[in-house]
């Protein structure tokens, strides 16, 4: 190649680089993925490569491995269906906006809305935010109410927000506030709760929290309460997954929902429990992953066997 031998060394170097990149783009960027796609046209692989889509009576209702919502237009659970886990993908199970909530283990103080009546609007505008703790407490209370069990959890108020106090006052030598001048329940907003979950703490009356109050100056203390360490509402029912598209729930959460689903469909709970067992997968080889129930598969199974007449 006469041009290259005459060009300066650094030009030759970059010409080789450009050519190498183009060759590699053709091989690994076009031929390789297309060949993989071609092999995946084989029967057995094809349906999976397409997304494991599920069709009922000619209508594609979803993917076997992507979760979906089983709620009505207002976002309330449809009682004849098993409910999926909470989701942070868009407004819930949106494959075009996947991901997690990303709040940390000590995210326990809410950012309160200016007008409690317009909380949803404020949250959408990023002007208010429920802490992860309050999200967990709120979900637990709601699931408990829906399924008719105790929705209480450690560090949650009976009202379903994080039980967290701000102790405002002088700090002692170790940095703690032992003699607070004020005690505020930071996640219980005045006007929403009639009275805080504790009447007094360290000899002081516990106040409700107001919009704009700077309670982070105080010592932030979560209050454990006397809820059982293993609550009736399972862990997966009150937490969102990493993808926001989790197609599964735990067998425990499925069993919790069985009586309500049975009532809605007018069938014995035993029949629903049997359907759960039939749609439950154990650990792969006995030790990989966790036991789980595919929610879409289970709901389709129930629709087929015990159609809902609502």
């Amino acid at each position: 190649m006469p041009l290259m031998t005459r060009a300066p060394a650094w030009v030759v170097q970059h010409l080789a680089a450009v050519r190498a990149l183009l060759v590699l783009t053709a091989i690994t960027g076009v031929i390789y993925p297309v060949v993989v796609w071609g092999v995946a046209l084989l029967p057995g692989l094809h349906n999976r490569a397409e997304g494991s889509m599920v069709t009922i009576g000619g209508r594609t209702v979803g993917s076997q491995i992507i979760g979906q919502l089983f709620t009505d237009r207002n976002g309330d659970p449809l009682k004849q269906y098993f409910q999926s886990r909470p989701s942070n993908a868009g407004t819930g199970y949106d494959p075009t906006s996947t991901g997690a909530g990303n709040l940390g283990p000590e995210d326990i103080v809410d950012t309160l809305p200016e007008d409690p009546a317009k909380k949803a609007v404020a949250i959408a505008a990023h002007k208010a935010r429920d802490s992860l703790l309050t999200q967990v407490c709120t979900r637990s209370k709601a699931v408990g109410a829906l399924e008719g069990v105790d929705g209480s959890r450690p560090f949650c108020t009976p009202g379903g927000v994080g039980a967290v106090l701000s102790l405002i006052g002088p700090r002692d030598r170790t940095g703690h506030v032992t003699r607070p001048t004020r005690v505020v329940s930071v996640n219980e907003q005045c006007g929403i709760v009639a009275r805080p979950f504790l009447t007094t703490y360290a000899g002081r009356p516990v106040e409700c929290a107001r919009y704009g109050g700077d309670y982070l100056v105080g010592e932030i203390v979560p209050i454990r309460g006397d809820a059982p360490a293993t609550p009736a509402v399972p862990a997966d029912a009150v937490t969102a997954s990493g993808s926001g598209l989790d197609p599964h729930i735990s067998p425990a959460y499925a069993r919790l929902q069985a009586p309500r689903v049975a009532r809605a469909r007018g069938i014995p709970t035993d029949a629903v429990l049997k359907a759960i067992t039939a749609n439950e997968d154990g650990r792969v080889l006995g030790f990989i992953g966790e036991p789980r129930v595919d929610v879409l598969r289970l709901n389709i199974d129930l629709d087929k066997r015990y159609p809902f007449r609502g």
């Binding site: 075009t96 990303n102 995210d107």
Partner: protein, 553 residues
């Protein structure tokens, strides 16, 4: 079976599988990089590139080739993203904004795969497969090439020649990465990973709502994302997404893939320097650090301490039901130890101490086992520093594998280990100094600092995982993290190649009474100690303000 027993078997089976792969894959890679023959396809490729495969390069020519290829790759990838709306399979997405396109181009060329974008709403299929995924192959092969050049420096005597970068690059891709990726991609599809070219399309769910389903050539990209320790997900949710990582066993396979090359390279190294036990010593250091780290992160996650995990009753936030907490912890440990940066769960929501282990793994300098190639060269530099420290303590001549570790060599080695801490600590400090950085934090208090510290640690060490709450798509973070990635990748590489050149020029010192044996358990223990002490001294103050402040009450 109890959850604990299953967790132990899960990690144990991975260790066994990697031990089984160590010799055959290591030997195979040895033959790839030392063989002299070219296949017909390779000869064709060399002709297209316009290089002579038998031409040897000096260390500086080798380094210039690495840099030339990387610069061209960055420019190409940047242009690709900026022009995607004019290309097919763009899914209707517009051009990626300049600061994000720069960040992403640097990110994929440096084998970091930090993502300030969300795949499903930013990148068309063509950019993903013919832009980003190409760098998944190329950046991995570049890392391996540089590692092999360093090993040649140890193995060769009185020469300026370190091999030929273009040959090492092409062989790494055509003979190692591509065949393994092809088989792995089909395995992932068998598990449920998708491989199609669909635009997003709407469907009506069982409950009658609208859900927009996404497609893409995912499996072919997913497998090289792990095998090449890249980590950049096709979708925002990365390996938590059921289309990327559909089942518990694909989760196991993905962890295996992200570790297998880096774990087997010490075998290649041992063969090349003519002593298998030197390879065993290096892999033992990697294994010791990795097993301790994996145990700790799993224990922290399973014991779920902290306010929210206690309220929940498990560290289940951000974790997929099919994987569960222990297997997700193993994935998180492996991805941070191996410089991969893929995630099958949300690290930001991990327990304070569990999340800290992820950070600590990266702070080790990605050596246990580290990225493809970069893990091996990082570990060899650690071994040299250990030899030097041991020499100072007992008055022995510092030498390693028959090469004298003189002042020139130790300067290269020490500089190597200063670069990433400087990037991490200076970057974090600059971010925390002003609103430009603090505004990006999702969490408040110590956890907010952890998000920023994690980001700079991840970028500088070319890992790519994140505490995902950080809003990183801002001009500040895209630029600063892009710089951290570029400096953290290429300065160490240049130092490694300079070091290789300096070692290759030396002759070979015969083993004497004064030689420290570098294949005994004693030496393995010393390297482990040096690695941990280096990190502890450098990063403990920063960790104390972030995860330790949050986790220890």
């Amino acid at each position: 079976m109890s959850t604990t027993t299953a967790a132990i078997l899960f990690t144990g089976s991975l260790v066994i599988a990697l031990a089984v792969a160590y010799r055959p894959l290591g030997d195979y890679m040895y033959r790839v990089y030392t063989g002299t023959g070219q296949s017909r396809a390779e000869r064709g490729v060399y002709r297209l590139i316009g290089i002579r495969p038998d031409a040897q390069q000096t260390w500086s020519a080798y380094a210039r080739s690495v840099l030339a290829f990387s610069v061209v790759s960055v420019l190409f990838l940047y242009g690709f993203q900026r022009l995607q709306e004019h290309l097919p399979l763009s899914l209707g997405f517009g051009p990626v904004v300049p600061h994000q396109a720069w960040n992403t181009a640097i990110s994929f060329v440096t084998n970091t795969n930090w993502q300030s974008y969300s795949g499903e709403s930013t990148m068309g299929h063509l950019v993903q497969m013919a832009g980003l995924a190409v760098q998944n192959f190329a950046s991995a092969a570049v890392g391996m090439a540089v590692a092999i050049a360093l090993v040649r420096g140890f193995a060769r005597r009185k020469t300026e020649h370190l091999g030929n970068f273009w040959v090492d690059l092409i062989r790494g891709i055509l003979r190692i990465l591509l065949p393994l990726a092809f088989v792995g991609a089909l395995a992932l599809i068998a598990g449920g990973a998708v491989q199609n070219f669909h635009d997003p399309y709407p469907l009506q769910t069982l409950a009658g709502a609208r859900q927009v389903m996404t497609g893409g050539p995912v499996a072919s990209q997913e497998v090289i994302k792990q095998l090449g320790t890249n980590g950049g997900g096709f979708y925002n949710a990365n390996s938590a997404h059921p289309f990327e990582n559909p089942t518990p066993w694909t989760n196991w396979l993905q962890i295996f893939l992200m570790l297998v090359i880096s774990v087997s390279l010490p075998r290649t190294f041992g063969r090349m320097v003519g002593s298998d036990r030197q390879g065993y010593a290096i892999v033992s250091v990697m294994a010791t650090l990795a097993i301790v780290s994996l145990t700790l992160i799993t224990v922290f996650q399973m014991s779920h301490h902290g306010t929210v995990p206690t309220a929940v009753g498990a560290a289940a936030e951000g974790v997929e039901t099919r994987f569960g907490v222990p297997n997700s912890a193993t994935f998180a440990g492996a991805t941070t130890l191996s410089s991969t940066g893929a995630a099958d769960s949300a690290h930001d929501s991990y327990t304070s101490l569990g999340g800290m282990i992820g950070m600590f793994n990266m702070m080790l300098g990605e050596v246990a086992p580290g990225g493809t190639g970069s893990g091996l060269y990082g570990m060899l530099v650690l071994a040299m520093i250990t030899v030097f420290v041991a020499g100072l303590m007992v008055g022995r001549t510092p030498e390693y594998l028959g090469k004298k570790i003189g002042s020139r060599e130790i300067k290269f080695a020490a500089s190597y280990f200063l670069i990433t801490p400087i990037c991490v600590l200076v970057g974090t400090a600059v971010a925390m100094a002003g609103d430009w950085g603090r505004r990006g934090m999702l969490n408040t208090g110590p956890h907010g600092l952890s998000e920023v510290l994690y980001a700079f640690t991840s970028a500088s060490n070319n890992n790519g995982s994140a505490f995902g709450g950080l809003r990183a798509n801002t001009p500040f973070y895209d630029t600063a993290l892009g710089l951290a990635m570029a400096i953290g990748r290429f300065l160490p590489m240049i130092l490694i190649l300079a070091l290789a050149g300096s070692l290759a020029r030396q002759g070979r010192i015969p083993v004497s009474e004064g030689t420290l044996p570098t294949y005994r358990p004693q030496f393995v223990g010393m390297v482990v100690g040096v690695a941990v002490i280096l990190v502890a001294l450098t990063f403990l103050p920063a960790l104390a303000l972030g995860p330790l402040a949050e986790g220890i009450r």
